[in-house]
């Protein structure tokens, strides 16, 4: 969809706008609700205060902050579980030179001193988990400053808890937010060639609010599709979330700075299409190695596991092809029933049903409130001044 892409016909644009509206609702159904988010925030602040009030002088320099999808605004409910993952960093400013296992133990000991946290506590390989049943669980990973990183990076335990390895959750978040804030160039600014075009006599789909944030929605859509796709294959081979997030964020930056779009759906598809472009690969001593570097610190390769198990790389590319195809199927769906089937196949039953129900309920509410109309070329529309109103009726029928 470069500069030369022809302008889509108005009906196609209305279709794409409606699909964007449906996907937006699907993502809303998958993410932490604002209430859950607020609750998670209160709880992590409380646990941060408890840890920092420790008699141990090292823990007194601890500050706790969000990392991962909750920090980025890209949460997706895990498959088959009620709890969202909320990832936290417990950064110990004064923890330099202490082995990771010791710092992790310090945090665990302090949490156990509190009866409430003790009842929620679960030990994980690199972190401590607080389980808030049927809401979310909070993972607290210890970190210390990385004196070698000029970008304010940190060190986090490796899986064996023997070594510190570089990471930069705050820097990663900053870069992601910078990219997400890039505004795409849309050929159809509001009202141009659309509302004002008497020849086509078509209005934009009025109920479409568009994506709240195209990059964040792309990440949620990608992650959810991955979860559903790998659920029946081998969840162990699935690309980790930070890979999808990084590739989509880079692709988003590339697309919005190189191309002009006439609708958000084309942009979304293009972001997904260009995902693999920034994966680096080299053949070293007969072995193909993969690199997806964390750009905000030195030495963190998100694709490290691909180099131990080449099936992971294959699995990524297989998933990517399938995700593109499933998105194309959605765009080509004819009829709300086909759309609903496509959504279920790609994203699972629960969010698909919620997205469709939201669409139906919006229409039914507008019908009840007398705000429903029919617009030429669009069909049912809400609150559109040029529409022919839908008067009150009662569907009847033969016995």
């Amino acid at each position: 969809m470069g500069f030369d892409a022809p302008l889509s016909p108005p009906h196609l644009i209305a279709q794409k706008a409606q699909l964007v509206a449906v996907l937006e609702r699907l993502c809303e159904a998958l993410e932490l609700t604002p209430t859950q988010f607020e609750l998670a925030k209160q709880r992590h602040e409380a646990v941060g205060e408890w840890l920092a009030a420790s008699p141990d002088p090292r823990l007194r320099t601890l500050s706790i902050y969000l990392q991962g999808s909750t920090a980025l605004g890209t949460t997706v409910k895990p498959l088959g579980r009620n709890e969202h993952d909320v990832d936290l960093v417990g950064h110990i400013a004064d923890g330099g030179g202490v082995p990771p296992a010791i710092l992790k133990k310090l945090i665990g000991d302090r949490l156990r001193q509190n009866g409430h946290y003790r009842s929620l506590l679960e030990e994980m390989p690199r972190c401590w988990r607080l389980n808030y049943a049927s809401e979310f669980h909070q993972d607290i990973t210890p970190s210390v400053p990385n004196p070698l990183c000029s970008n304010g990076g940190e060190l986090v335990p490796d899986k064996t808890l023997r070594e510190w390895m570089p990471s930069n959750p705050k820097g990663y978040r900053r870069l992601f937010e910078q990219r997400a804030a890039l505004q795409p160039r849309m050929r159809l600014a509001k009202g141009i060639g659309f509302r004002g075009d008497a020849a086509t006599d078509i209005e934009p789909y009025p109920a479409a609010g568009g994506f709240k944030s195209t990059l964040r929605r792309a990440v949620q859509i990608g992650k959810r599709h991955r979860d559903v796709y790998f659920d029946t294959i081998d969840p162990g081979l699935a690309p980790i979330s930070v890979i999808l997030t990084t590739l989509l964020a880079r692709s988003y930056e590339y697309c919005v700075t190189h191309f002009v779009y006439d609708n958000e759906l084309d942009l979304l598809y293009d972001i997904v299409r260009h995902m693999p472009d920034s994966i680096e690969s080299q053949v070293i001593q007969g072995r193909r190695l993969w690199f997806i570097w964390n750009e905000t610190t030195n030495g963190e390769n998100f694709a490290e596991k691909w180099n131990n198990d080449p099936r992971r790389a294959e699995a990524f590319f297989g998933w990517h092809q399938r995700a593109l195809r499933d998105l194309e199927v959605l765009a080509a769906a004819e009829g709300l029933d086909q759309l609903s089937k496509g959504l279920r196949g790609a994203f699972g039953q629960a969010p698909a049903n919620k997205a469709m129900d939201a669409l139906i309920n919006e229409m039914s509410d507008a019908r009840r409130n007398g705000r429903l109309g029919v617009s030429p070329g669009v069909g049912l529309s809400i609150g559109s001044p040029r529409a022919t109103g839908v008067r009150s009726n009662t569907f009847f029928g033969a016995p």
Binding site: G335, D337, G377, S392, T394, G397, A398
Partner: protein, 143 residues
């Protein structure tokens, strides 16, 4: 009948021996199918709305279509409750029947998927509830 002047039902009409036949293509939503509708209306009669294409019974895969007066050969839609006078002959078809047909098709596509008709309404004589509602609406026993 204003069908000709309203762009939401742009189509072609035939008027013969006091009977109007209006054909147009419509989609209830951008993501819906395109449906070919036929409205037949005789002066002082009631408009009959048929779906000529696609074949709704084929789409329904053997299920009985909800809210129709006839399933075959061409489904005829039941769009309003005659006793409630939701439609009268002085009303414009393009402002009543046409929007209701779009609404019917919207709920129909959803019904295809979920098997639940979410557009409300009544099926007369099939359930006691329908009769109760008629009595409630017409307490004087009229009609």
């Amino acid at each position: 009948m204003n069908l000709r002047s309203n762009p939401i039902c742009a189509g072609t009409g035939l008027l013969r021996a006091g009977r109007l036949v209006w054909r147009y293509t419509t989609s209830p939503m951008p993501l819906s199918r395109a449906y070919q509708l036929r409205i037949e209306y005789r002066q002082d009669g009631v408009p009959h709305v048929f779906v000529d294409d696609p074949d709704l019974t084929r789409l329904a895969e053997g299920r009985r279509l909800p809210h129709v007066y006839q399933q075959r050969p061409t489904p005829r839609l039941c769009l309003y409750l005659p006793r409630a006078r939701e439609w009268s002959s002085w009303m414009r078809i393009d402002q009543t029947i046409v929007p209701w047909a779009a609404l019917w098709l919207f709920y129909f596509e959803e019904w295809l998927d979920s098997d639940a008709w979410k557009g409300g309404g009544e099926h007369p004589l099939s359930k006691p509830a329908a009769c109760t509602l008629c009595l409630r609406r017409w307490p004087l026993g009229g009609n």
